[in-house]
Every structure is written in structure tokens, then in C-alpha cells.
């Protein structure tokens, strides 16, 4: 009984979750390519299968059968650890996200928010180690850029999350979604959403903040020495990160698995689909931003977070504290 409850059942849930996430990441590439090509008045992938739906499978097969090259001058163990360390946090962060009524993905811990912050903190290891172990100046510069960027944007993100935390009054994401909120709280949250979204863009290294992998200056940054499936792991990590952060945003800002105005709240099976719809809309936002906005310079990126976002987030947190004291 001990073993069943502590090891086997969680293991099954974990395996299902990983399977769903990997498939989701694969199809997110399809979704992104389709959307971005429509933004550019193209068709996008449409050869493999109907509407190009088999394209991710084809890409995967291609990546698996590519030759595995490990350059001579790299630090082998760390070189191989890099992609894994990039991928694992992206998956692990899912454990605390509620996917339906009273159903978290893995566990309802009462430190859900801290879990997200902690995993976001260790996310940069994969990149920084990949860059260092490649033993290549371009990779190292790309890795340093990416980790500096991620650490810097983590600060305003953490402060914003702390504000949400204050309003919610609980560290648990399950409770955050479950408890009803007054209308002014929603509006106050949505006022912050664009800035939080900017932080998320920088955290996930997505365009327009994809400076770590700029093709024209740094030769793809930390990914330079990687090929085949190892390179694909970085890409999968990036896409899973997109899914994860979209889910977190959907959970925090848009009520997670709940439909608006409390419609059909007791139909548990509807939860994941509502969440999926919200995530798809947020992913559309990611792609839309990528299609529209050019990349800033690195110093602009850094001064934006340190001189604008961080003070803004602190002011936001202060006002949130006042509101919380006043109305709760």
C-alpha cells in the first residue's frame, strides 16, 4: 500500500504528464510555424500529412537519426548534461499547476508559488553549462547573456508573483484558482499582465528577447556546438517552457480551468479543455509578438528591466499591499 501510493501512482501520473508535454511541445512547433507563416502570408508546413500535421513527427525522426557529434574539446559530462538540465526544470514546474477542479497535475503542495520561483531559478543552469562546456567563446558569451537576462527578469517576475500572492493569501495554486475573487482584483491583475508577459518572454528566451541565440552576432549562442537530438532537446525545452509559462499565466490571470462567471464549475472533466483553450490563446500571443516586434539591443534589454520593470513591480507590490489591507 505504501509503495502503491507513494511510488507507483505518482509515477504513472508523471509519465502521462511527460508524454502529454512532449507531444504538446512537438505540436507547438507546428502551431507556431503555421501561425507565423500566416502572419507572413505563407502557408507553412503542409506537405507531411493533412495540414502538415505529421511535420513534428518527421522533424523528430530526422533529429533522432542525425549523427551524434561530440566535439573533441568539450567537457563531455557537462556538455551532455546541458540539454537535460535545460529540459528537466521545464517539465518539473508542471507538478503544482491545477488542471481541473481540485486536481493538480501531480501534487497540491502549499508552496506552489515558491515551487514555481525555485524552478524558474534553476532554469538557467542548462544554458550556462551548455555554453561553458562547449569551450567556445561565442557559446560562452551567449550563455552568459542568457543567464544574466534570465536572472535579471526573474526579479520583477518574482515581485509580481509576490503581489499576486498577497492578493490570493495562499501559496497554493489550487486554492488560488478555487477561491473566488472580487472584480477589482481581476482588473488590478490584468493591468499588470503586459509587464508580466514581458518578463515571461525574457525568461523563456522568446522573440523579441531571444538575444542569447541571436544568429547574426553570436552564431546561435549556447547552441553552437550542439547537433541532432541534443539540439532538439534545447528546442523542446524552449517550447515546453512556453507551454508551462502560458499555463501559469492562464492560472494566475485568467482563472485556470474555470470558465468565466462560474459556468459549469462542477463538471470536472471540462477543466483541462478550458485550460487548453486559454493556453492556446496565450501561445498565440507569444507567436504574435514574435511576428511583430524586432529584437532590442542587449543594453536596452537590461536597462529596461533594471530601470523600468523592477521599480514598476515594486510600486505595484506596494499598492497591492495597500489594497489588500484595505479590502481584505
Amino acid at each position: 500500500m505504501d509503495w502503491l501510493n507513494l511510488v507507483i501512482l505518482p509515477a504513472i501520473r508523471v509519465i502521462i504528464m511527460i508524454f502529454v508535454l512532449l507531444t504538446g511541445a512537438a505540436y507547438l512547433t507546428w502551431y507556431e510555424r503555421k501561425l507565423i507563416s500566416r502572419f507572413q502570408i505563407r502557408y507553412g508546413p503542409n506537405r507531411a500529412g493533412i495540414y502538415g500535421l505529421l511535420q513534428p513527427a518527421a522533424d523528430g525522426i530526422k533529429a533522432i537519426f542525425k549523427e551524434e557529434i561530440i566535439p573533441n574539446h568539450v567537457d563531455k559530462v557537462i556538455y551532455l548534461m546541458g540539454p537535460a538540465l535545460a529540459l528537466i526544470p521545464a517539465i518539473v514546474i508542471w507538478a503544482v499547476i491545477p488542471i481541473a477542479k481540485e486536481t493538480p497535475a501531480i501534487a497540491d503542495v502549499n508552496i506552489g508559488f515558491l515551487w514555481i520561483l525555485a524552478i524558474a531559478g534553476v532554469e538557467s543552469y542548462g544554458l550556462i553549462l551548455a555554453g561553458w562546456s562547449s569551450n567556445n567563446n561565442y557559446s560562452l558569451l551567449g550563455a552568459l547573456r542568457s543567464s544574466a537576462q534570465m536572472i535579471s527578469y526573474e526579479l520583477p517576475m518574482g515581485v509580481f508573483l509576490a503581489s499576486v500572492l498577497m492578493l490570493a493569501g495562499s501559496f497554493s495554486l489550487v486554492e488560488l484558482v478555487q477561491n473566488p475573487r472580487p472584480w477589482w482584483e481581476w482588473i488590478w491583475l490584468w493591468a499588470m499582465f503586459p509587464f508580466f508577459f514581458i518578463c515571461i518572454l525574457a525568461e523563456t528566451n522568446r522573440a523579441p528577447f531571444d538575444l542569447p541565440e541571436t544568429e547574426n552576432e553570436l552564431v546561435a549562442g549556447y547552441q553552437t556546438e550542439y547537433g541532432g537530438m541534443k539540439f532538439s532537446l534545447f528546442m523542446i525545452a524552449e517550447y515546453i517552457n512556453m507551454i508551462t509559462t502560458s499555463t501559469i499565466m492562464a492560472t494566475i490571470f485568467f482563472g485556470g480551468w474555470k470558465l468565466p462567471f462560474g459556468i459549469l464549475q462542477n463538471v470536472v472533466i471540462l477543466g483541462p479543455f478550458v485550460l487548453l483553450a486559454k493556453v492556446l490563446v496565450l501561445l498565440f500571443l507569444f507567436v504574435w509578438v514574435r511576428a511583430s516586434i524586432g529584437r532590442p539591443r542587449y543594453d536596452q534589454l537590461m536597462s529596461f528591466t533594471w530601470k523600468f520593470l523592477l521599480p514598476l513591480s515594486l510600486v505595484y507590490m506596494f499598492i497591492t499591499a495597500l489594497l489588500t489591507i484595505q479590502f481584505k
Binding site: L114, W115, I119, A120, G121, V122, L129, L144, S147
Partner: protein, 171 residues
């Protein structure tokens, strides 16, 4: 063996191995990674000790902050293997090792007899949830919290001043 015991032995073994790795690695980067492993295993142990909040904080501060800072510094300085030539071989290290072993055995001997079974006081800790810890921090221990805040500010300013390139006057 019961499941918690098995888990403890496994995590403890990883932790000790990582600590040995920190001391024994030739490359500073490897040391830093072993240190990271050690911190993460300690976080896991905190969870088994009903200290969820501390486990999360451990990962945020140590894994997310300190080790990354150390890695940054290693990359800034270039991680040459500096230990190659010890210029003045000293006996203090070996004496220290001996004394350390002695201390370890003394501590182990003491601990083996004291602190047997845990009290069933787990309920009082409430699983180490953030709420009681926070309440204690901001009521009973508010002065130390404020002092730590001042300390962090001072450290920030000090690090900023010292981390700059040395000015002409110094060199």
C-alpha cells in the same frame, strides 16, 4: 527497510558523494555542480523534515542564486586548474584532516546515543508551511528580519564597490 529510511539513505549517500566531489574536483565548475547537487539533496531532506518552506527557499537562494553567482565568477576569472603546484607544502592540512576525523567520530559517538526517535511533534510544525514561519518571522523575530535586511543592503553596496575594476590609485 522501511521506505522513509531507504529514501534517507539514498539521498544522504548522494549528498555525501556530492560533498566529496566538491572537495575533490579539479575543475572549479565541477565543484560548483557538485555543490548544486548537495544543495538540492539538502532541500529534499528538508522536505522529509517537514520544512517545505525552507526547502523551497533553499533551492531559490542557494541553487538559483549563490551557485549561479559562483559559476559567473568562475567564468569571469577563467577556471584554470590552479591547484597544480602547491608552493609551500604545509603539514597543517593533514593535521586538520586528522583532527576533523577525530571530531567527526566524537560527534557521531555522541549522536548515536542521544536524539533517538523523533518526537511526534510533527503537527506543531504544520508541515513547515510558509504561513507559521512567516508569522513567527514577522512578529516574534521582526528585529532580526529587519537587521538581515540592512545587512543585505550593506552587502549589496559593498559588493558593488568592491567588484569594480580597481582604480588607478590602488594599483
Amino acid at each position: 527497510m522501511a521506505l522513509p529510511m531507504l529514501f534517507f539513505v539514498l539521498i544522504g549517500a548522494i549528498s555525501v558523494a556530492a560533498a566529496v566531489g566538491v572537495v575533490g574536483s579539479r575543475q572549479p565548475v565541477h565543484s560548483a555542480l557538485f555543490l548544486l547537487t548537495n544543495f538540492v539533496t539538502l532541500a529534499v531532506l528538508y522536505i522529509t523534515l517537514e520544512a517545505q518552506f525552507l526547502a523551497a527557499i533553499q533551492v531559490i537562494i542557494y541553487a538559483g542564486g549563490i551557485v549561479i553567482l559562483i559559476l559567473f565568477v568562475i567564468m569571469l576569472l577563467g577556471s584554470e586548474e590552479i591547484d597544480g603546484d602547491i608552493t609551500n607544502q604545509s603539514w597543517t592540512g593533514y593535521a586538520g584532516l586528522l583532527l576533523g576525523l577525530f571530531m567527526l567520530s566524537a560527534m557521531a559517538f555522541n549522536f548515536l546515543n542521544a536524539f533517538g526517535e523523533m518526537d511526534a511533534n510533527a503537527a506543531a510544525l504544520q508541515g513547515g508551511a510558509p504561513k507559521p514561519v512567516g508569522l513567527a518571522l514577522f512578529t516574534k523575530y521582526i528585529l532580526p528580519v529587519e537587521l538581515v535586511g540592512v545587512l543585505l543592503l550593506v552587502a549589496l553596496i559593498g559588493a558593488l564597490l568592491m567588484g569594480r575594476f580597481p582604480s588607478k590609485r590602488v594599483s
